[in-house]
Symmetry: C2
């Protein structure tokens, strides 16, 4: 008899039918006369209750039905007697497929700290919290692909091992097959990378943007979605050494087109979560409320998970320039009263998360897009504005998190680009391929980047980035 997934059973309308389920035991309780087994197969945050009569099923067999064991259950789907669920299963036969010794299985039914669960990242997807997170992670990934596919964008597969090192987005990991103790050397005592696997020094990509531009300037509208690597020694709750980025890049888009797209994209993602992840969100929302209860007021989430998602979906994003934002912040109460950890000193400084959150949560009470940043705090490829001091950049700011998207119109004018590169000490010869796009059929174009884990933190309410990716890589840690 074909097994049915638990998510399907929980939606079932036809009762008193024979069914077959398989899954893992979350809990077992009861007494000599009846056992209640909560069974989960990963298809839903909800387990289904199995009601088992020890006389029918066998007391000995039920001993093997402990938390973590995998079992196969044949029985009848019936209306539930208890509260909390609509249906349950009256077991007619149970097979224990794989036991889980209660003395050894680490995931016993009690509250585990996120720190402890991080140590057993190979087992934590079996918990309610991480099941919910990783189902949402899937839903958000699919939403990314669906959004761009439906708009006629092409998924563009950039390289991960790269011989290009000019983007300067961060420290890089070297990729090599040279003998580590005894690498070949050149005459002047440096490592001879011409003998390395790729015949040159290669690193893991820090951003696919430059290669993405190559795609956009041929296919029109592309996006990337894949891992990105930064070898920064930052052991914080906001940094990973390996994380996923989404980087759309569009020919013939100016900065306004870029903002319109990014706003529509973020609203689509948040609406998708509301529409497709209601049960998992409800679980995480309750979790967050419980967590917040023991925190001081200042550290609590400004809104519930659902309210945050609706805040994005229902409010048109406020758009203003960096210069306007600096004025607002300079004159703001927290700045005047010295409440910001980093006082706003004036035009030219980079904004901190506390400033970004102030604009979103206190001042505008909407998501905010800041544009036209000082050129000196932005990358070389951003389009120079006519004032000569600012570039056509845009950052999108969200509640609770600050910057979630960073983008810009790209500098399409060859001379402006090369003079900017010279200013910043980026050698033209390394970027010849990139400059070719400006030499031949150049066109205005724009793009932005969304750190996928940043989005996941926003949607799930988890506060440590290590908890929204299955196997986090951080300085000193690469288990599994």
């Amino acid at each position: 008899m074909q097994r049915t997934k638990i998510s399907k059973l929980l939606e079932a309308t036809e009762l008193d039918v024979d069914i077959h389920v398989k899954g893992w035991v979350r809990t077992k309780r009861g007494n000599k006369h009846v056992a209640f087994i909560a069974l989960n197969d990963g298809s839903s945050i909800h387990s289904i209750q199995i009601v088992a009569d020890p006389n029918t099923i066998g007391e000995d067999l039920l001993k093997g039905v402990s938390t973590g064991a995998s079992i196969s259950v044949f029985g009848k789907l019936v209306a539930s007697q208890g509260s909390g669920q609509k249906v349950e299963i009256t077991a007619e036969r149970i097979e224990v497929i794989g036991v889980a010794d209660p003395e050894k299985y680490p995931l016993q039914p009690k509250k585990h700290s996120l720190e402890f669960l991080r140590e057993i990242a190979h087992l934590r997807p079996r918990t309610n919290t991480f099941g919910a997170i990783f189902r949402i992670r899937h839903a958000m990934s699919y939403a990314v692909h669906k959004f761009f596919n439906d708009k006629g964008f092409y998924y563009w597969h950039n390289p991960f091992v790269t011989g290009s090192d000019a983007e300067g987005a961060g420290e890089m990991f070297r990729v090599t097959t040279l003998d580590p103790t005894n690498p070949p050397l050149t005459e002047d005592g440096k490592v001879d990378y011409s003998q390395d696997f790729f015949g040159k020094e290669t690193n893991l990509t820090v951003s696919g943007q430059l290669e993405g531009e190559l795609g956009a300037l041929a296919l029109g509208e592309i996006y990337t979605f894949g891992p990105t690597f930064r070898a920064e020694n930052s052991n914080t709750t906001r940094h990973l050494s390996e994380f996923w980025m989404i980087e759309p890049e569009m020919a013939f888009y100016d900065l306004t087109d870029n903002m319109d797209l990014a706003e529509e994209f973020l609203q689509f993602l948040c609406q998708y979560a509301l529409d497709h992840c209601a049960d998992d969100l409800a679980f995480l929302e309750k979790r967050l409320i419980d967590e917040d209860k023991v925190k001081p007021q200042a550290e609590r989430s400004p809104m519930t998970l659902t309210d945050k998602l609706k805040f994005v979906v229902e409010n048109p994003f406020e758009r203003l320039t960096y210069t306007e934002a600096i004025q607002i912040l300079s004159n703001s109460k927290p700045n005047k009263k010295g409440k910001f950890q980093f006082p706003v000193e004036g035009w030219g400084t980079d904004l901190q998360s506390e400033h970004e959150r102030y604009l979103v949560e206190k001042h505008f009470k909407k998501p905010v897009i800041l544009t036209d940043y000082p050129k000196d705090i932005k990358a070389f490829y951003m389009r120079m504005n006519e004032d000569g001091n600012t570039v056509g950049a845009m950052d999108i700011l969200f509640p609770g998190i600050g910057e979630i998207v960073g983008g810009s119109q790209r500098e399409e004018r060859l001379e402006v680009l090369t003079s900017r590169m010279a200013e910043m000490g980026i050698p033209e010869e390394d970027m010849d391929w990139y400059l070719d796009t400006r030499r031949f059929g150049t066109a205005p174009h724009s793009g932005f980047g969304l750190g996928f884990e940043r989005l996941m933190i926003f949607v799930t309410g988890l506060s440590n980035i290590r908890d929204v990716i299955p196997f986090p890589r951080t300085p000193g840690s690469a288990a599994f």
Copy 2:
């Protein structure tokens, strides 16, 4: 006035309306009285014809309208006078956005070899052939996500930098930030990886399967889709150092369930290509026919592109054991007449592509699934059959290409798995996390791997794997 994508215009039914298009010039021909410009914006293999009167548009301006230039065109969409297209644009105003000096732009309108285009991989997406390939690459990627999402699978994000080196699927790339000339050494003169970024030796993943099993044994049904790395010094038309793999992994699936899923998946992908990539496929099909004309009969494609896709969609896959296949091959005409490059020696040898293709193209005239391979030619994690000699593996064979999918039921029995690992010299202590899934709630499960570029070769008819990925990485080559 909002611009319209060319793909939309080509489908337009409303004529004699004002339109605005942007794109890149593919060709310009004509005379003093009229210019015909083929304009492409990447949204379709088809360019739209712009008809420009030099008197209206300006002769000088038209000089800048050369192959590769980007232009903006305002005009009227009208029924086409010529054959080959239904609509064309009568230009009222043209702006040259970015020129492309005909003396320097490498993609002049003439036939370029694939080898030449590989050297300018940053520009080749602007050609018809690579535009078609990369649009199909997008469509196939999206089809992968759609197939699994619609079935309730979760996209599972495995790590790419891995501290695990036990899978043994191939040579690995080291990932490091240690000083290359002067790495820290331990007392016995080896590199002290405890001082490396992750506190241990780390490499790029060769397969996400083992981590995928962790996901499946918690969430039920997962799939991976991302880059995979092999540091093999294989300079062939079938190998890349960086390629994309799709690896679904499913709890409670036996080998038959696994085959059913893989067959349905491959048929879905091929049907999706037929349904969504008709124009690009038609272009590549004609290309392949032209290429084949100059080849000796033996090297020609066994079928056209469309016929190959239909062959997969319309034929239920033939399923037989490796042992049965060896008998068929041993007794086959080409084996008896010495026509195989590698004679079939008998049970226990690995099959070559020529054998696989014989079974598919000549013997069964259907896609073929071979099962139950000798344990000695398969990986340690495949489930041991009762005969003690074979494992529950399955390979799917396609026309023109041979193996396209490899999978197996996984060994879920702890003792069988550990004794197999001992036989093959895989240290248990390195795999403790993997073995935990067999210690706690183990369950029958299965999975398979599809090399995405292998699929792309099948669908596009290109013969060199370097031509189906935007930026190929091969020994000695990592440009861009």
